[in-house]
C-alpha cells in the first residue's frame, strides 16, 4: 500500500489514496451508466416507493454512489482497537462521488448530442435524458448529477462515524420502508379483510405516503434499538439446550410453520397463491436436486428432464387430448405411474453416467436434459407427445366434487404444500440415515468411500432416483396446475435456475432451499413466471447472475447454510493454519489435559 494509507491512521490526516479513489469513481460511474443503458432506471422508475418523492429507479441510482462512499471509507475492523476515521476518507468519497456524477452527467449529455445511439441502445432516448437530468436541462443536469454523486458518497462515508447499533438501526429502518413500499401488492392482498390499513399507509396512486414512510422508519429504528438482547433468536432457541429440550423446541417450530402454511393461503388472493404454488414447485425440485448435488455431490445439470418426464407422464395419462394413448385416468391414478416412470428414468439416466465424475458428469447430464426435451419435440415422437403443440386439456386434481387446478390457485397451493411437506420429510429423514452418511462420504472422497465398503454405483443410482422422484412430483403438479405441457417449459434454463436456487439458498440445507426458492422464484420470478417484483421481470437473469457472483464471493455456503458446508468452506483456512504451525501441538496438549 502507499504511504498515504499508512499515515491515515493518525487522527485527522487529510491524506488520500488517489488510486483507490479513482478506481472506485470509475466503477461507480460505470455502474450508473450501465444501469441506465440497460433501461433499469427507466423501468424501475415506473414504481413509486414513497409518494411523491422517492421512485424506485432513482433509489437504485442513488444507492450506487452511496455504496461507493461507504466502501471507500471502510477500514479493516479490529476488535478492541478503535477504527481510524479520517477526514481524508470523506474527501476521497466526495471526489469519487463527484467524478462518478460527472461521468453520468457527461454520459447524459452525450446521449443528448448523439440521438442516433438509440438505434444501438434502445433505452438511451430522450426519456432517459429527462430522467437523469432531473428535468433541469443539460447544464443543470450535469451539475445536479455531480452534486448528487458527491453528497451521496459523502453520506455513505459518513455512515462510519455512527456507532454500530445506530448504523444497524438505520439500515433496518430503510429496509422496512423499502420492503413495505415494494411489497405493496402483497400487503394490499393480505389485508383484504382490513382494507383500512393498506388504504391508510399507501397513497392512491401507489407508494407509501410520506407520513407513513416516516412512521415506519421511526418504528423500525426504535424497535431495532430497543429489541436486541430482549428476544432470543429463533435459531439460538432451536439449537440450544439439551437434546430433549431441543427436540421439543423443534417440534414447536415445525408446528408453528405448518399452522402458518395452512392459514396463510386463506388470507392471500389468487395471484399470490399462484405465486406460492410456483415457489412450491421450485422448492420440490430444489429439494430433489439438493439430494443429488448437496448430499451426494453429483452435479446434475439436466435435472429438468425428470420434471419433464413427470409432467408428460401425467399429461399422457390424464388428458383426453393426448394424441396417441389417452386412458384419461384421474390424477390420483396417474401419480403412482409417474413415480414408477421417474424411478425408471432415474436409473436410465443414472446408469450410463455413473462412472463419470465432476465436470464430466455435469456436461453429460446437461446433454441428457436437452436430449429429453429435443426428443419430445422431434418428428419421431411428435405423434405420441404432440411435439411443439404439447398436450392440452389436462384435468386438475379431482378432490371430491371439485377439480383442483390452476384455475383455483387457493386450492392448488395446498397440493403444492402437501407435496413439499413430503419432500421435506424425505430429505430430513434420509439425511441422517445410513444412506445419507454413505452419500456424505461419497461427496467427500469417492475412492475412499468405495474402499470402506460403500457400493458407490448403487449409492449414486439411489441419489439419482430419489432426486428424479421429487422432480417428477413437481412435474405432476405442474401439469395439473397449468392444464397443458409444452417442451418450452423444460428448457435448460430451468435446470440452471433450480441449481441457482439450491446454491443461493444453501446447499445441503432444507430451510436453505426453501428460502432460496422464496427469494428467487417468489420475489424475482421463475423462468416463465413473474415474481412479486414484476419490474424485475426483464432483468431477472441479470439479477440472478449478479446475486450468484455476490454470493460466491461473500457467502459461498448460501443464505441458510448447512453446518457441514459452512464448516467446509470456512474452516479450511483455519485448518491449514492450525496444521502448519501450532495446531497439532495444541490439539495434543488439549487431549492430554483432558486425560490427566
Amino acid at each position: 500500500m502507499t504511504a498515504a494509507t499508512a499515515t491515515s491512521s493518525v487522527g485527522r490526516s487529510l491524506s488520500i489514496d488517489w488510486r483507490r479513489t479513482l478506481r472506485v469513481a470509475l466503477l461507480t460511474g460505470g455502474v450508473t451508466i450501465f444501469l441506465a443503458a440497460i433501461g433499469m432506471v427507466q423501468a424501475f422508475n415506473q414504481r413509486t416507493l414513497v409518494e411523491p418523492i422517492i421512485k424506485f429507479g432513482y433509489l437504485v441510482v442513488a444507492a450506487v454512489p452511496f455504496t461507493a462512499g461507504y466502501l471507500i471509507a471502510r477500514r479493516l475492523q479490529v476488535t478492541g482497537a478503535e477504527t481510524p476515521r479520517t477526514v481524508g476518507d470523506v474527501v476521497s468519497a466526495a471526489i469519487a462521488g463527484a467524478i462518478a456524477g460527472a461521468m453520468t452527467g457527461a454520459f447524459v449529455a452525450f446521449v443528448q448530442a448523439v440521438p442516433n445511439i438509440r438505434e444501438i441502445f434502445p433505452n438511451l432516448g430522450p426519456q432517459l435524458v429527462e430522467t437523469l437530468t432531473y428535468s433541469l436541462g443539460t447544464g443543470g443536469g450535469f451539475v445536479a448529477n455531480l452534486v448528487l454523486g458527491m453528497v451521496l458518497a459523502v453520506c455513505g462515508a459518513a455512515v462510519h462515524w455512527l456507532s454500530r447499533p445506530i448504523q444497524r438501526a438505520l439500515v433496518i429502518g430503510a429496509e422496512a420502508v423499502v420492503i413495505f413500499a415494494l411489497f405493496e401488492t402483497v400487503i394490499d392482498d393480505f389485508f383484504d379483510w382490513f382494507k383500512t390499513l393498506p388504504n391508510t399507509i399507501y397513497a392512491n396512486s401507489g407508494g407509501l405516503t410520506i407520513l407513513w414512510a416516516v412512521i415506519l422508519f421511526t418504528v423500525a429504528v426504535g424497535l431495532s434499538l430497543y429489541l436486541p438482547g430482549r428476544i432470543p433468536s429463533v435459531r439460538k432457541a432451536v439449537t440450544s439446550g439439551d437434546e430433549r429440550d431441543r427436540r421439543r423446541k423443534q417440534i414447536i417450530l415445525i408446528a408453528v410453520v405448518s399452522v402458518a402454511l395452512i392459514i396463510v393461503p386463506q388470507l392471500l388472493g389468487g395471484v399470490l397463491n399462484e405465486l406460492l404454488t410456483n415457489v412450491g414447485l421450485f422448492v420440490l425440485m430444489g429439494l430433489g436436486l439438493n439430494i443429488v448435488v448437496g448430499l451426494a455431490g453429483l452435479l446434475d445439470l439436466g435435472y429438468v428432464a425428470f420434471f419433464a418426464i413427470g409432467a408428460y407422464t401425467t399429461a399422457v395419462l390424464t388428458s383426453p387430448l393426448s394424441p396417441f394413448f389417452n386412458p384419461e385416468l384421474s390424477w390420483w391414478l396417474a401419480f403412482p405411474v409417474v413415480l414408477v416412470m421417474a424411478i425408471i428414468a432415474g436409473i436410465m439416466v443414472g446408469t450410463p453416467v455413473i462412472r463419470m465424475r465432476g465436470d464430466y458428469l455435469a456436461i453429460v447430464t446437461l446433454g441428457f436434459g436437452e436430449i429429453v426435451r429435443l426428443t419430445l419435440l422431434s418428428d419421431w415422437l411428435s405423434p405420441y407427445f404432440g411435439g411443439a403443440q404439447g398436450i392440452r386439456n389436462i384435468p386438475g386434481i379431482p378432490v371430491g366434487e371439485i377439480s383442483v387446478s390452476g384455475v383455483t390457485p387457493e386450492l392448488m397451493v395446498y397440493a403444492a404444500i402437501a407435496l413439499v411437506a413430503v419432500a421435506v420429510y424425505v430429505s430430513w429423514r434420509v439425511q441422517d440415515s445410513r444412506i445419507g452418511r454413505a452419500w456424505a462420504a461419497m461427496r467427500e472422497d469417492e475412492d475412499v468411500a468405495e474402499a470402506v465398503g460403500i457400493d458407490t454405483v448403487k449409492a449414486k443410482l439411489l441419489a439419482f432416483v430419489t432426486g428424479a422422484v421429487l422432480a417428477s412430483f413437481a412435474g405432476a403438479l405442474f401439469a395439473a396446475k397449468l392444464g397443458s405441457v409444452f417442451t418450452a417449459s423444460f428448457e435448460i434454463l430451468t435446470s440452471i435456475i433450480i441449481l441457482v436456487v439450491v446454491i443461493v439458498g444453501g446447499m445441503g440445507n432444507i430451510a436453505g432451499v426453501a428460502v432460496g426458492a422464496l427469494v428467487l422464484i417468489g420475489v424475482l420470478g421463475g423462468p416463465s413466471s413473474p415474481g412479486l417484483l414484476q419490474e424485475f421481470g426483464q432483468f431477472k437473469l441479470l439479477i440472478y447472475g449478479a446475486l450468484l457472483v455476490f454470493m460466491m464471493l461473500k457467502r459461498p455456503e448460501g443464505l441458510i447454510p448447512s453446518a457441514r458446508r459452512a464448516q467446509e468452506l470456512h474452516q479450511e483456512e483455519f485448518l491449514q493454519d492450525a496444521w502448519l504451525d501450532k495446531g497439532d501441538s495444541l490439539a495434543t496438549s488439549e487431549t492430554e489435559g483432558k486425560e490427566s
Binding site: R437, E450, I454, E568, A587
Partner: protein, 269 residues
C-alpha cells in the same frame, strides 16, 4: 488353508513394473510387515489387494474366494479393510460419523427404512451408534466424549491415524492392511500405536499386514517380514533373518563402490 494367498501377482503402470510375480501368504492371526525402500511397490501391493487397481495377472485368494478384479467395496465386504498412507478420512464428517460410515457394508437398512422410520431401522441406527462408540473407546480417551461430534479435520495428525484405523475396524474385517500407521508420529505416539497394533490381534482377533518404515515397530510386532524392492520380493522371513539378509541391506544402503564396478562394466559391454 491360508487366510490370504497371493500367487504370481503382476501390476504394471505403463513401463513401470510396480509388482512382479509376487507370491505371498498369510495365516489367520499373523502380523506381517511389508518393508522396502521408497518406490518399492509396497503401497501398490496394498492397492491391488484392496481392489483400487485390478492386477494385470495373478490370483488373490481370500478365505477360498478369488478377489482379483473385484471392486474395492466388494473386497471390503469380504473382510479386508485398509488405511491409507496419506490419511484419507472424510474430513467434514464428524469423528463418530466417520466410524458409522465404516459400518455401511455390515448394515442394510435402506432408504425406505429411513423414510418410514421402521422399528428395524431405528434399532439398527442405535446399534451403529453404540458400536461406533465402542470402537472409538479402543483408543482410550483420545477419540471419545466431546470428540464424537467434532469434524475429523480438526483432529491432530496422530488422532487422524487412529480414527482411520477405527474406521477400518468398523468394517468388521478379518484382515487389516495398515499403510504406514506410525508415519509422522512422535516416538511416544509410535510406541503407543505399536502396542495398539499388538492389541488389534490379541484383543480383536484381526490379522494384520502393515507397511512400515520404523524398524523398531517392525521388529517389535511382526511375526514375519516381507521385503520388496523395485516390485520384486527380495526376502521374506523373521525380522532377524531379513535384517541380516545381504540383498535387503543392499536395497536399503546400496552396494559398496568396488562391487558396483563390474556391474556397470557389464552393462556397458
Amino acid at each position: 488353508m491360508a487366510l490370504l494367498e497371493i500367487r504370481g501377482l503382476n501390476k504394471a503402470f505403463g513401463g513401470v513394473r510396480a509388482l512382479q510375480d509376487i507370491d505371498f501368504t498369510i495365516e489367520e492371526g499373523e502380523i506381517v510387515s511389508v518393508i522396502g525402500p521408497n518406490g518399492a511397490g509396497k503401497t501398490s501391493f496394498f492397492n491391488v489387494i484392496s481392489g483400487l487397481f485390478p492386477p494385470d495377472s495373478g490370483t488373490i485368494t481370500f478365505e477360498g474366494h478369488n478377489l482379483a478384479g473385484r471392486t474395492p467395496s466388494e473386497i471390503t465386504k469380504a473382510g479386508i479393510a485398509r488405511t491409507f498412507q496419506n490419511v484419507r478420512l472424510f474430513p467434514n464428517l464428524t469423528v463418530l460419523e466417520n466410524v458409522k460410515v465404516g459400518q455401511h457394508c455390515r448394515t442394510q437398512r435402506g432408504i425406505f427404512g429411513a423414510i418410514f422410520q421402521t422399528a428395524a431401522f431405528k434399532k439398527e441406527e442405535r446399534e451403529i451408534e453404540e458400536k461406533a462408540k465402542e470402537i472409538l473407546s479402543f483408543f482410550g480417551t483420545r477419540l471419545v466424549g466431546y470428540r464424537f461430534d467434532q469434524p475429523a479435520f480438526v483432529l491432530s495428525y496422530a488422532n487422524r491415524r487412529r480414527l482411520e484405523i477405527a474406521r477400518a475396524m468398523a468394517t468388521e474385517p478379518v484382515l487389516m492392511l495398515l499403510d504406514e500407521p506410525t508415519a509422522g508420529m512422535n516416538p511416544r505416539e509410535t510406541a503407543e500405536l505399536t502396542e495398539l497394533i499388538g492389541k488389534l490381534r490379541s484383543d480383536k482377533g484381526f490379522t494384520v499386514v502393515m507397511i512400515e518404515h520404523d524398524m523398531r515397530v517392525v521388529g517389535e510386532v511382526s511375526d514375519r517380514v516381507m521385503v520388496l524392492d523395485h516390485g520384486v520380493k527380495i526376502a521374506e522371513g523373521s525380522y532377524e533373518e531379513v535384517s541380516s539378509n545381504e540383498d535387503v541391506i543392499e536395497a536399503y544402503l546400496g552396494r559398496p563402490a568396488e562391487e558396483r564396478k563390474p556391474a556397470i562394466e557389464e552393462r556397458n559391454a
